[in-house]
């Protein structure tokens, strides 16, 4: 089944109508087994019949995933066939947020099959079969109590459930090892950041059945459930991205931004429909350059030099200054600073430990941060930075609509687009830095402890990047209405 979905996604290049690719609720329901399966595995519940069916299908379809897609007009240079799964990932991610998790899991599957790494589904399946009798229940039609393992629940699956599934695979070691994981992480980041022409993407966002914040809220709620049900079995992974994101009011800001975006979109439509034909053409031509600023095509994955605190703050501050709104990005820069402070501390402690007594790992652990702690701090920082980004975009929308100073909408679009890129790069850098820390700190750890943590950080970082980009797309109608209103 996943193969089918994926093909649909592949065919939907950004140039085509987004309606075709738009998943109805039904689609998401159909996707369930793919996403929910790892969730069920995490909880060590017997799998339902549909899950095992999808798994077989998945294996059957696996070879297809490697096929390059010649129809894609361009692929990022230097990555060869990677560009193809990348493209499909991005159209998946942008067609609807509901499929973000799925898109990434597809990408991971693809990446792993390309690399000869077993898919998370296979991995979790294998590891599940070995230790527990329960896993054999996959053939039995009995579905447990039903609440949390409901297929619906997994429909809009959250990345972290996937990552936890990966974490919980326990025994199985990814054959590709660290390099493969790092590669996947980097490419997931890069590829997600590519984007497609903003207008289509926004249209896709606007037309779908549920809004991004709803999707996230549901995902968070399921995560809360999972925290509960998995509490006894999970020993690590205390940090839950969705919960932390909500705690920093990321969801609320996103929901508010969505309300403003929808309202603006409705206004644009009603204004356009009230105009005579010529005027509509004229307005649409005027809005074209604005839409172009939302395409994020200039994203360049080579330019990833670590910035100092000052550089980052200054860059964000100057971008905000060019918006000419009275909002200060202080909270974001503080959160970013805090992230670098803990990373530096962890790094310093690690070095001290190594210098003093390299052998006594057990006694050293008391002072030195454990890999789990680093992972949790990283997830927290990612969630906080993303929530702050949501707040900034929401405040920007508010103040642009408030109509403080008149700055051309296109200039604001450019600044916001640049800000999106800066934020995504920052998250990418942060995740790289964290994984470096994890590898050095966990040099003595077994790879089945370390790898899932690293994957988790990469996955939540790409998760974050897609939320930021989706929030950015919500700003287009806001700028459109502000442009139209400034003309009249």
């Amino acid at each position: 089944m996943s193969g089918e979905n994926e093909n649909t996604m592949d065919n939907t290049s950004p140039q085509e109508s987004p309606d075709g690719a738009e998943p109805t609720g039904l689609d998401s329901v159909e996707k369930v087994p793919v996403v929910s399966e790892p969730v069920a595995v995490t909880r060590k519940r017997p799998e339902s019949k549909s899950n095992s069916v999808s798994m077989e299908e998945e294996e059957e379809k696996a070879p297809e995933k490697k096929d390059p897609e010649p129809s894609e007009p361009k692929s990022p240079s230097g990555w060869g066939s990677w560009g193809n799964w990348g493209k499909s990932l991005i159209s998946t991610a942008s067609a609807t947020v509901a499929t973000v998790g799925h898109g990434i899991s597809t990408a991971i599957e693809k990446a792993e099959s390309t690399l000869g790494v077993p898919s998370p589904v296979e991995l979790s399946f294998r590891s599940n079969v070995e230790p527990t009798e329960d896993a054999n229940a996959s053939d039995s039609p009995a579905v447990p109590g039903g609440e949390s393992s409901s297929p619906m629940a997994g429909a809009l699956g959250f990345l972290s459930s996937i990552s936890t599934a990966v974490q919980s695979t326990g025994k199985t070691v990814l054959t590709g090892g660290l390099d493969a994981l790092e590669f996947i992480g980097k490419k997931t980041m890069d590829v997600i950041a590519e984007g497609d022409p903003g207008f289509k993407k926004t249209k896709g966002l606007m037309n779908r059945n549920s809004t991004l914040s709803q999707v996230l809220r549901e995902a968070k709620e399921r995560e809360e459930q999972r925290v509960g049900s998995a509490a006894e079995t999970q020993t690590h992974g205390k940090a839950h991205y969705g919960l932390l994101f909500d705690e920093h009011q990321g969801l609320a800001h996103l929901e508010a931004l969505e309300l403003l975006s929808k309202e603006s979109e409705a206004k644009v439509k009603s204004i356009l429909s009230a105009q005579p034909g010529e005027k509509v053409v004229e307005l649409k031509t005027e809005l074209e350059p604005l839409k172009e600023t939302f395409s994020l095509e200039e994203f360049d994955d080579d330019d990833e030099v670590e910035k100092g605190d000052e550089d980052f703050s200054q860059e964000i501050a100057s971008l905000f200054a060019s918006l000419q709104i009275t909002v200060r990005p202080d909270k974001l820069t503080r959160a970013r600073k805090a992230a670098y402070i803990w990373m530096t501390e962890v790094e310093a402690k690690g070095m001290e430990e190594n210098a003093e007594e390299p052998e006594t790992e057990t006694s050293g652990k008391k002072k030195k941060a454990t890999v789990e702690e680093i992972h949790d701090l990283a997830i927290h920082s990612l969630a906080e930075l993303t929530a702050c980004s949501m707040e900034l975009f929401h405040k920007s929308a508010t103040l642009i609509l408030h109509g403080e100073t008149q700055v051309p909408a296109v200039s604001r679009g450019k600044a916001l687009s640049q800000m999106t890129i800066t934020l995504c790069k920052e998250l990418s850098l942060l995740s790289k830095k964290v994984t470096t820390l994890l590898t050095t700190t966990g040099a003595l750890e077994k790879s089945d402890v370390l790898n899932p943590l690293i994957t988790g950080v990469f996955l939540e970082a790409s998760n974050s990047a897609s939320y930021i980009q989706d929030a950015f797309q919500l700003l287009l109608p806001v700028l459109e209405i502000s442009h139209i209103q400034s003309q009249t």
């Binding site: 109805t24 609720g25 039904l26 329901v29 109590g145 039903g146 609440e147 949390s148 409901s150 619906m152 629940a153 059945n209 549920s210 709803q214 809220r217 549901e218 709620e221 399921r222 809360e224 459930q225 925290v227 509960g228 049900s229 509490a231 006894e232 205390k238 839950h240 919960l243 932390l244 705690e247 009011q249 609320a252 800001h253 508010a256 309300l259 403003l260 929808k262 309202e263 009275t326 909002v327 200060r328 990005p329 202080d330 909270k331 974001l332 702050c388 707040e391 900034l392 929401h394 405040k395 508010t398 103040l399 609509l401 408030h402």
Partner: protein, 243 residues
């Protein structure tokens, strides 16, 4: 952290009547005499218990300034409760109640519970609006009335919690149709209607989506093991100030 329901609240009223202070008192139990002007909306959240059920209040604290009026109107959507606040020491804030009420009624669900809050009750010496006037206004418009002081915390808890109780009662009575008017396309028609107290977990999952948006009530996730280690992060927590 686990909750049975999530209620969206919205706080409205003229600028300077103490909306943000009421929120801060409720979420953080502290008073801040000088507050920045709210830009658009700020957020706070807190968990309360009603009838043995955990309910999460997600509170939208809107800007009172006239210039933000058209923006804050967008935020009414999906609210289950509203606190309409005026300042007992400024009669004009009381006089504007009708406009606020019209706005609220026009842009929100008709079942939204509205609580009329007469704030700054600690400033008795500067009182311009008598308690009886507030009560009369509330009676006339079918609102619940309460005098509060965000400074002394008097009646603040009660204001938020009584509103939640009222919403909860409406849910029990079936007035608040959690199911909403829009049918959920992928649910078989025989399952489309169900009592709001239904605990069918599969449906609850779905109910958290579109179906509940219009009346501001979301049903929380079920928890097989409440009080899990991860839950210490939750509880009381307010949305920070603006950036």
């Amino acid at each position: 952290m686990a909750y049975a329901y999530l209620f969206k609240y919205i706080i409205i009223g003229d600028t300077g009547v103490g909306k943000s202070c009421l929120l801060l008192q409720f979420t953080d139990k502290r008073f801040q005499p000088v507050h920045d002007l709210t830009i658009g909306v700020e957020f706070g959240a807190r968990m309360i218990t009603i009838d043995g059920k955990q309910i999460k209040l997600q509170i939208w604290d809107t800007a009172g300034q006239e210039s933000f009026r058209s923006i804050t109107r967008s935020y009414y959507r999906g609210a289950a409760g509203a606190l309409l606040v005026y300042d007992i020491t400024r009669r004009d804030t009381f006089n504007h109640l009708t406009t606020w009420l019209e706005d609220a009624r026009q842009h929100s669900n008709s079942n939204m519970v509205i609580m009329l809050i007469a704030n700054k009750s600690d400033l008795e010496s500067r009182r311009e609006v008598k308690k009886e006037e507030g009560e009369a206004f509330a009676r006339e418009h079918g609102l619940v009335f309460m005098e509060t002081s965000a400074k002394t915390a008097s009646n603040v808890e009660e204001a938020f919690i009584n509103t939640a109780k009222e919403i909860y009662e409406k849910i029990q009575e079936g007035v608040f149709d959690i199911n909403n008017e829009t049918p959920i396309p992928w649910i078989p028609s025989e399952l489309q209607w169900r009592p709001v107290t239904a605990r069918s977990s599969d449906l609850r999952q779905l109910q958290t989506g579109d179906s509940c948006e219009a009346n501001g009530i979301k049903i929380g996730p079920q928890h097989s093991t409440p009080g899990s280690p991860g839950s210490h992060l939750g509880g009381q927590q307010a949305g920070g100030g603006c950036c």
